[in-house]
């Protein structure tokens, strides 16, 4: 893709807006929102399995494939059979590729930081309790803000806040209220909100 000349400001702004509009049109289908809602629903399922005393190994064997397979399949098939036949197909330039690469590098770094914290927690007991919850919350928030900013996907900020809030809510419910519905409340509510939002956007997209 052509990188606009710095001195050509008026043209830059307009062409950037044009490119941004074309790029963000791909997110008007709500599929990513639905897929993210699905991930949260899997978290609900996992906490439900934990509540009925299913072992960690079995839980992991159930929810990891669900997280790894179902949301990407929804996005890929949805784009192929819903979005592209209605919106068309475009290949974006170097500018978007660079932003996507930065996003992936940023997300991998954040995941590594989280992994390091989990190892420290496991080996030395450091970062357990509320501190761990705060770190996880900030990590989720940072990841979603990074995605929202680099993809120019504004709804992602709201989704990030909803998902990040689920962690302290879960911590509070588990440790202070001792309710058996902690997972349903902490993960289920944001999951339902995000999925409903996604389906509304998808319905609007289909009507157009």
């Amino acid at each position: 893709m052509h990188v606009p000349e710095k001195k050509n400001m008026t043209q830059d702004i307009d062409l950037r807006e044009l490119e941004k509009k074309a790029w963000t049109s791909y997110f008007q289908d709500g599929l990513l929102d639905i897929a993210l809602g699905m991930i949260m629903l899997v978290a609900v399922l996992s906490s439900t399995l934990e509540a009925i005393d299913i072992t960690d190994e079995v839980r992991v064997a159930i929810y990891i494939p669900l997280i790894v397979i179902v949301p990407p399949v929804i996005v890929v098939l949805g784009k192929r059979y819903i979005t592209i036949p209605r919106l068309g197909f475009a290949k974006f330039g170097l500018h978007r590729k660079t932003r996507n690469r930065i996003m992936i590098a940023g997300l991998v770094s954040l995941q590594l930081m989280l992994l390091a914290m989990l190892i420290l927690q496991w080996v030395y007991g450091w970062g357990s309790g509320w501190l761990g919850s705060v770190i996880v919350t900030l990590n989720i928030l940072a990841a979603f803000c990074l995605i929202a900013y680099l993809l120019d996907y504004r709804r992602m900020y709201a989704i990030g806040i909803l998902f990040a809030m689920s962690e302290p809510v879960m911590f509070y419910l588990k440790n202070y209220s001792h309710t058996t519905y902690a997972g349903f409340i902490a993960y289920g509510i944001p999951a339902v909100i995000v999925m409903v939002m996604g389906f509304i956007v998808l319905q609007r997209f289909l009507r157009r």
């Binding site: 893709m1 052509h2 050509n8 008026t10 062409l15 068309g88 197909f89 475009a90």
Partner: protein
């Protein structure tokens, strides 16, 4: 002042060129949706731009359906930049 390129100067063709200037390549449907043009309108402007050598049109079959991809050529990119520069000169010369 440089000469204004009449091929790009037409609003519909300018819209096609501007989109292809910022996107690496796009198919017919995508351009139709983004520019708000009808099939026939886009098709005729596409042909004019192709004849001028400003865009490259690749027709292929994807899952047994015809699929048309459009891309700006080097000549088209240069012409668009030139056009933009010339238009700026025109307005820069306007008395206050």
């Amino acid at each position: 002042m440089g000469e204004v390129d009449r091929i790009i100067h037409e609003p519909a063709r300018f819209a096609i060129m501007a989109h292809l200037y910022v996107i690496a390549s796009a198919d017919f449907l995508f351009l139709m949706r983004q520019t708000g043009m009808t099939k026939g309108n886009l098709s005729s402007h596409m042909r004019k731009l192709e004849e001028a050598g400003y865009i490259e049109v690749v027709k292929e079959f994807v899952m047994r359906k015809p699929h048309t991809m459009l891309k700006l050529t080097k000549k088209g990119r240069t012409a668009f930049r030139e056009y933009s520069r010339n238009m700026k000169q025109v307005f820069a010369g306007l008395p206050a």
